[in-house]
Symmetry: D2
């Protein structure tokens, strides 16, 4: 994929094993993430990943909404995150920076990092036909009792976030070895060490242009566009028994 | 390890591939996490993982402090999380539960889940001699410019959290392919899809008994007790190129 | 005002002094708040206060947006808050309710209380012509150096919240005796013991229907509609030297 | 009071009415707040208010704990808040400061402002004998059904915060005209336009030195030291029908 070959991760890595481990996988089926170029924690500069679907062809989510979401909310977060690295580097090298001032920047970094990563995941799990495969349905049912119980909880969390901000995430908790749904109040509210599988944006910019305050209608539309193959692939990769 | 053989993860998994993927790794060197027994998202019951070190032998962190931390804060979170699953199941099956009431429970679940997972990680990266291996130092230096720059930022974030609550985490961001330090204001503030490598508790219960309000002295003590082998092992496993 | 005479505050108050103190002021010029009827902390039921302006006549904020904002976001918060009181009462009287479960409800109550109060204040400081009186400009300039410095900060905070959620509040800090602008990340992030004077909603439901992601244009529109007389009146009342 | 005469509020106020309104009340019975000296929103410098009681004489709260709490946590917040004003002024005057960087500072300012104000209130409602007067008990009972119901809720909220951070506040909601207890997760989580009457610190620095993780014992101790006269006085002043 062209957008991937342009990118290099951790170019300055000095040990071969480390470099190999973090090389992009050629077999990855979903669009590459906003990849870090050389520069590391204080210098990495990201570029937005293009939408992995034709924004004119989703069901019930307009091109105007999707383009604005991608460009303004996701794109804006990428820009802000890039700019923050320089600010952090400068602040850290200044001995007069009090820790609480530094943490003001770190909080903003965490917010923008969450926004970039979650939007990447969100767009990549859209563009499908909305039907989960039998194997995936079984795995979800195994954890939640029934597939319907999973969906009921996922939707309920979303409804409760409507009119505010936040995300709903079905994730695999690597530490607890559990599939769970998570309530997240904003980009920086999240569970630790969880592989995100299905991500639904509940910020109002994800739906207000098309649905106004009708969050329930947006959730319906979201479900009809889920790219379940991506979800299945994430689960397959995410349960690799990494021990934290 | 005995405590591990007693545990079964996802016992009800109906597909062999899924069951195999989530089986505990026999080669894992660090103490097992608070493992989920059968029961899934609404029924899993955890048991606390014993301290992976002799609490009488850490440098500058007293047995009394460590035991109270393990029993009251970590143990209390395990108990609360276990109890919350039943409440969630009940609330979901009651059609009269408004979404915002349900999310009140989900927020508490997220907080306790974070507390359990982070405390597990924290205790497991204590008990060492405090010296990072050359390979790990190189990798950290690769991302942060120098190893000292990494340590300076990690400590500064910690100092800024002193007197309040929160965590400092060195993690590998699986999506951005970056080693980064994260500021986390509480158990539920976290980056998404990050493999946690080194975790420092900055809640006051981690040090007030021994150091009062002197957070800087606690951070010094923490550094002399870091189990770097665990950190190196987590990095090795965490950079497995799982694509989210 | 009719909507006010219908309401009774603290009807059950048993001491005359208390009852007198909390009686509604007949001279109040701005629309009444969502007033509490008898019932107290666990039983009070609020009714939404009508929009204090003709929603067809604001500059750059459409009737559709304003009606949806009032009905769905403000109205929804009133309903949720009313329902939460019964849940709280029930949960408190059940000895088996763990404190962390109770606090899940209290958090939701705080969020909805903030939403109700802030929306009341927001609508009541709209509908004007946008020009601050000389006396008020002087007072603001006294605290911020110049009136323009105040406006620059107020707008900058708003821009930083665009694309997410939150409020900007010019308030009089009763404890510190200072006029200050406050950044608030959501309905439950707020300064303590501050008299709110000018309140700007930065949740996306306040502007996305009319302006999409263009938060800056919304802020411009907001400024042209400020009801400065209300702000001046709030300041006059808010600086009553109540000591906390 | 000497500490008060040294202070001047809003010295630069240019209108007599404004100046008079914010003048300190000579009849105030409780210790003065951390008063703002001239300087306004970007320049005000606070000085810590001395403890309003003999720290050797409280029941079950040690001198060592109270002195550390006052000096390190409260005193540290005053220093940080003073330093932040200069940073804010500088950042605002620099046209290159992005809004999200500015808001990183504003968030820290809100946290420290909350810490200063809440600690002031907390210390000022300690030092008493723990018995509420009949009139106050009646007013509280009027709102909560019974005085015991109020106390049960206040304590339950506190227990739920134990082991983390936060505050419990009995306050008079000026907008809703209600006495209510509030759950607050940290210094910056608060209800809007509420007169705080009784404030209990649940950060671990408020008790860990004396009680370790035993939050319930601290709450018992807190109740035996409440200065109820201060609470009654705050209520009397707080219900002045200021309309927001």
């Amino acid at each position: 994929m062209e957008s991937k070959s342009r990118r290099t991760f951790f170019q300055a890595a000095t040990t071969a094993a480390f470099a190999a481990a973090i090389a992009p996988r050629s077999s990855a089926a979903e669009p590459a993430p906003a990849g870090a170029v050389a520069g590391g924690a204080f210098g990495a500069q990201l570029t937005p990943v293009p939408l992995p679907f034709d924004s004119r062809k989703l069901n019930g989510l307009s091109e105007k909404l999707l383009q604005s979401h991608w460009e303004n909310n996701y794109g804006g977060a990428v820009k802000a995150l890039n700019a923050l690295r320089g600010r952090l580097s400068q602040a850290l090298s200044d001995a007069n920076t009090p820790p609480y001032v530094y943490n003001g920047l770190k909080r903003e970094q965490l917010m923008r990092t969450g926004s970039v990563v979650l939007h990447d995941l969100y767009f990549a799990n859209l563009g499908g036909s909305g039907g989960a495969g039998a194997d995936l349905r079984t795995k979800i049912a195994t954890s939640f009792g029934t597939f319907d119980a999973w969906e009921a909880e996922f939707r309920k969390i979303g409804l409760g976030l409507g009119g505010g901000s936040g995300w709903v995430v079905l994730g695999f908790n690597r530490k607890l070895r559990l599939l769970e749904n998570y309530w997240m109040a904003d980009h920086a509210t999240a569970p630790v060490d969880v592989a995100p599988l299905l991500v639904m944006d509940m910020y109002e910019h994800a739906f207000a242009m098309d649905y106004g305050a009708a969050a329930a209608k947006y959730i319906d539309a979201f479900f009809t566009n889920i790219q379940w193959d991506t979800v299945a692939q994430r689960l397959e990769q995410g349960v690799v028994p990494v021990r934290g």
